[in-house]
């Protein structure tokens, strides 16, 4: 059923008057004007967002900070699953994130990571999930997609570059790449939305 809905929501499929526009996905403003425009409002909620790229530490977490700060202001949690390094809480705090609501889950096995993400997404207090997946397989993501659909949290999955060539059930897939003082974001899949421009969105890395 979800496959059919996904198909019907495809931007290239024209279904006649009135039915062609899919229901808008709720979003959270990303804090960047160009990105909000490309994502039609911001980061989707209740959907999986894949952030594909390497290496860790290029600013791909920092670009989410406006969203994360907004989550903790709403007294919701930020769950970090299997981050490659420990978060430096004083830094997060300076950027407006309440450290009381930042949880770290340490896990190594892919199965455990996916299971934890599922549990976290099913919890109503979760504001944002940031998970670092190292596997290339997309099959476990189907479960996560279901779990995400039941919540209104933002679910960000960091995946290695090789995952870009694999099909994925995620709502939004973005390939990121550091280039000088900018982070280039290339939307490679956007369910129900138009990939607005072919050229990637560039975010200045020292803007934030």
């Amino acid at each position: 059923m979800s496959a059919l809905e996904e198909l019907l929501a495809h931007p290239r499929l024209w279904r006649g008057r009135g039915t062609g526009t899919p229901a808008a996905t709720p979003t959270r403003p990303s804090g960047f004007v160009q990105l909000d425009r490309a994502l039609r409002g911001g980061w989707p909620r209740g959907q999986l967002t894949e952030l594909i790229g390497a290496p860790f530490g290029c600013g791909e977490t920092r670009m989410l900070l406006p969203v994360l700060a907004a989550c903790t202001r709403e007294r919701r949690r930020i769950m970090l699953v299997a981050p490659p390094a420990a978060p430096w809480i004083p830094g997060w705090r300076q950027l407006g994130v309440d450290p009381e609501r930042v949880f770290v889950i340490r896990a190594t096995a892919e199965e455990d990571i996916v299971w934890s993400c599922e549990q976290i997404l099913r919890h109503p207090k979760t504001g944002a999930l940031l998970a670092w997946l190292h596997g290339n397989r997309s099959a476990p993501l189907r479960r996560l997609r279901l779990a995400a659909g039941a919540s209104d949290a933002c679910a960000f999955l960091y995946r290695p570059p090789a995952a870009a060539s694999q099909p994925s059930p995620a709502h939004l897939r973005i390939r990121w790449r550091a280039n000088g003082d900018r982070l280039h974001l290339e939307v490679i899949k956007f369910t129900g939305g138009r990939v607005a421009e072919d050229k990637p969105v560039a975010i200045r890395r020292d803007d934030y």
Partner: protein
Amino acid sequence: MIIEPETPFGQGLPKGAGSASPQFALLPPMPPERNPEPESAPVSAQPLWLAVELPHLALDALVQTGSAASKPLVITEDSARPRVHDANRAARQAGVRPGMALADALAVLNAAIVLDYAPEAIRQHLQTLAAVLLQFTDHVCPEPEERRILLEIGRSLRLFQGTTALEARVRDTLRRLGYTPRIGIARTPAAARLLAHLRHPARPLDRDMLRRTLSPLPLTVLPLPAADITALHGIGMERIGDLLRLPRNDLTLRYGARLPELVDRLLGDRPEPMPRFHPPETPAFHLEFDQEVNTTGALRFPLKRLLLQLEQTLRAGNHCVQGLELQLQHRDTTTRLTLERSQPGSRAGDWLELWNIRLSRLELPAPVRGLRLAVPRLLPTGADPAELFNRLEGTHDEPGFLARLRARLGDDAVLRYAPTLHPLPEEAQATCSLERFPALTAATTPAQRVAGASLWLCPPQPSAPPGPLEWLGRLEGGWWTGNDQRRDYAVTTDRQGRLCWIFRDLRSGQWRLQGFWG
């Protein structure tokens, strides 16, 4: 008869006074008019016994696969000369009776299935059912030899609103699990056993009624050796009433202590010790098939029965489960399947749905002869009612969520960091307990702000001299602990594009990596 004023139904009180008095405010509403029968008399103080006899337990415990319903099936007792223990409807219609020699039974039957009676399996079944029946009372006493369970229900009557309602619930519970019970209720366990065995409809609650109920019954129903029965017949006694009328002392002289003891126990003049049943720590449920099963679809119905047993047992113990193990028993091997849910629960329907998904994807390696459902861990009480409310409000139980994560990943796998006042970044945070987060005193200290708002922290490690730098500030601190540090912090981009958070140790002049900016 003196009626005590604190009796629950307030029989001695004038009408209207009892129901309006405040101490009854929390009780369920009282029945508007009282039943004139002695059933509603205040009996809560005295014991009352309910006997459940399961005459066809050996048959009920077997799962009859669909095709075998019309095929005759005989269960035999293993002895020198095999006898029929029980037979299904098809076999009984053909004339097979329990106690018949197997050879005679086979002579009248056409292509019958013959199975061995397994006393140990029956005993386990009875224990499972005893655990199920614990939801009605705390005093349950299984008697595996006679395939019978006794329940003391005197103190449960008010909760379940009378004997009739309670009996119906017990019967209904057992029927839904696939068993055919016979139920008797009486003041004494001995009389309850008799009434259950005879399917007697009387429910004698006091001694006189009990006497009147028992008197017309023939002596042969008493659990006595055949020699005693013959002897009693010999002196012209046919019914239990005749026996009750005799003086006990003379009975003792003539027949020994056994007979008067039985009479006393029947009437309740002498208490009968009844051991209490304690359910096993980790319950397991077992079913066997009459024939080997080759498709997973055929496993669903028996599995549902097991899950219903589980649900009832869990309800009795106020437990719930999060994971289950299902063992498919083949001729020589066992296939083990495990299932874990995100939320603990006990409802059979929920579990069945999950197992159906699981089973539909399974290819049976060999035909299945039996199913066993094991519970690795019972979760403590209270989780289930909480689940109810959470489902209503759409929220989850807070400690349960983190507890599940910790249960699977380890205690130190789920953590939070609390900022400290220490200026050195690697000391500026400490892991803290999940339950309590220390009150945050002030914002980040100026000394901490000098190092910048980096996001990720690594243990300090040597770093190559960097390229272009963006300076953050100079940090001096730790001299009061002897760990004097003077550092210049900066952010740099390395060759891979990472934003590195580095510092130069002013004493040694070396560059070290502190973490990642992004």
